[in-house]
Symmetry: C2
Subunit: 261 residues, 2 copies
């Protein structure tokens, strides 16, 4: 199944969107948070008539599982450049996530430019570590996308690096084109940075995830870097940057995760 099909939404007469959370996108039995957010993002772009979620935030209220679900979108404002909508994604039992997004039509060549950050230094994709589902890790989800970790950051292969960081390449399976919705998926497609920290931290469920989709990606692999600088008080944040093969910064993300104790 393509990502486009797995994240498809169907407008219903009552204004909500019917979706099907696909099989196989789970991590530890729960659908990947970026996948769920991508579904919601697609519904918001359809509801607002604008293709690019320049900023989208979700708070995760319950785990999501394969099966039918509903995205409800409430368009709060629609202006000349932006539309803003709140949304929920609920399965047949409960609300899985709730959030808010602003959509637009991104234009690459608009206004002044200052980029004071560089893509991660990655070996070519074929020299990185392709994640394939294992038992119990890596999870089934990694079989739905193509994630290739920097060899220094591949904890499934050896020892943690000691740095709370994950770098690598991402693309959709088979090289399916990456639209703005797939970028929302990409920001939550890598293993937790905490897997590379020498700390007694494993499962770090997402409390909140915000993604900024800043530019359309060109075809090819995405160079991704995720880092965590503040693990304290039972939480950690993970900052993400996604670059396309042309070297453009296409998305930034931050999520707040729980550190169960």
């Amino acid at each position: 199944m393509t990502f486009a099909a797995a994240s498809a939404v169907t407008a219903r007469d009552d204004g909500t969107f019917g979706v099907e959370i696909a099989d196989g996108w789970e991590i530890a039995g729960n659908a990947n948070g970026g996948y769920l957010l991508a579904i919601a993002a697609r519904a918001v772009t359809v509801a607002t008539g604008r293709p690019d979620p320049v900023t989208i935030t979700a708070h995760y209220l319950a785990s999501g599982h394969p099966g039918p679900a509903t995205v409800a979108v409430d368009v709060l404002r629609s202006g000349g450049r932006h539309s803003t909508a709140s949304f929920t994604l609920a399965d047949t039992h409960r609300t899985v996530l709730a959030g808010i997004a602003t959509t637009t039509e991104l234009h690459t060549h608009a206004g002044p430019v200052l980029i004071d950050v560089t893509p991660p230094d990655l070996p070519p994709p074929e020299e990185c570590v392709l994640l394939v589902p294992g038992d119990p890790l890596p999870p089934p989800f990694v079989g739905q996308v193509e994630v290739r970790l920097h060899p220094d950051d591949a904890p499934f292969r050896g020892a943690p690096s000691g740095v709370a960081r994950m770098r690598g390449w991402f693309r959709l399976r088979g090289g399916e084109p990456v639209d703005s919705i797939a970028l929302v998926q990409a920001v939550d497609a890598f293993p937790p940075t905490s897997f590379n920290a020498n700390l007694p931290v494993s499962w770090t469920p997402t409390v909140e995830l915000t993604a900024h989709v800043r530019r359309h990606a060109c075809d090819g692999y995405l160079a991704c870097a995720f880092s965590t600088r503040n693990i304290a008080g039972g939480y950690l944040e993970t900052d993400g940057e996604i670059w396309d093969e042309a070297g453009a910064l296409v998305a930034q993300s931050r999520q707040l995760q729980l550190v169960p104790v």
Copy 2:
């Protein structure tokens, strides 16, 4: 007027909160976005019965002005550790902002710790540049709080530094204690980082602001650092870090701003 008074909320019988957007908190005629978000955050903490907005996001839909307003809070989930609520703040004419927050009771000493970032290197407060309202800049808002810029980052005093960064000290006027709501204010209390970039950028209205309140601040000044690394496509992001005088990282923030062209 204290910050506590300026951000007070009154529960109404219909479940909404009455607020009064105070005079004097404007920037270019519009109430400061962090001030408005602090009002909303206070309403959310009251509605959820939890004092700390560990993550809160707002999207700014219209400018806010002094006068009566209403915060509507919809509690979506209340669990053992977190409550999540969506909210809107509306004046008598229109919705000013909408967002979502998760509240908790922060515990400083919980779980493993890894902090891979340091406070900004600031001269003592008395050697920094106290912002006072001018005509037209700095705006009236700076008279409601105490912001002291690093001398190298004080564009009102001399030339822009050339680095899209703002560092300095923050406290509430008269040393009023800083609670978690005041931290939400602090993340949006500094002049735009773009004032220090050598670019034709001035007014950068906020599209979306997310704050993570990670820890209770001790008494004293807050050391603050804001930086922008990606100005492109008509947007920029500003990342903020707030440290207390004991050297603890108490809040992190990111906002997406429009770069009008």
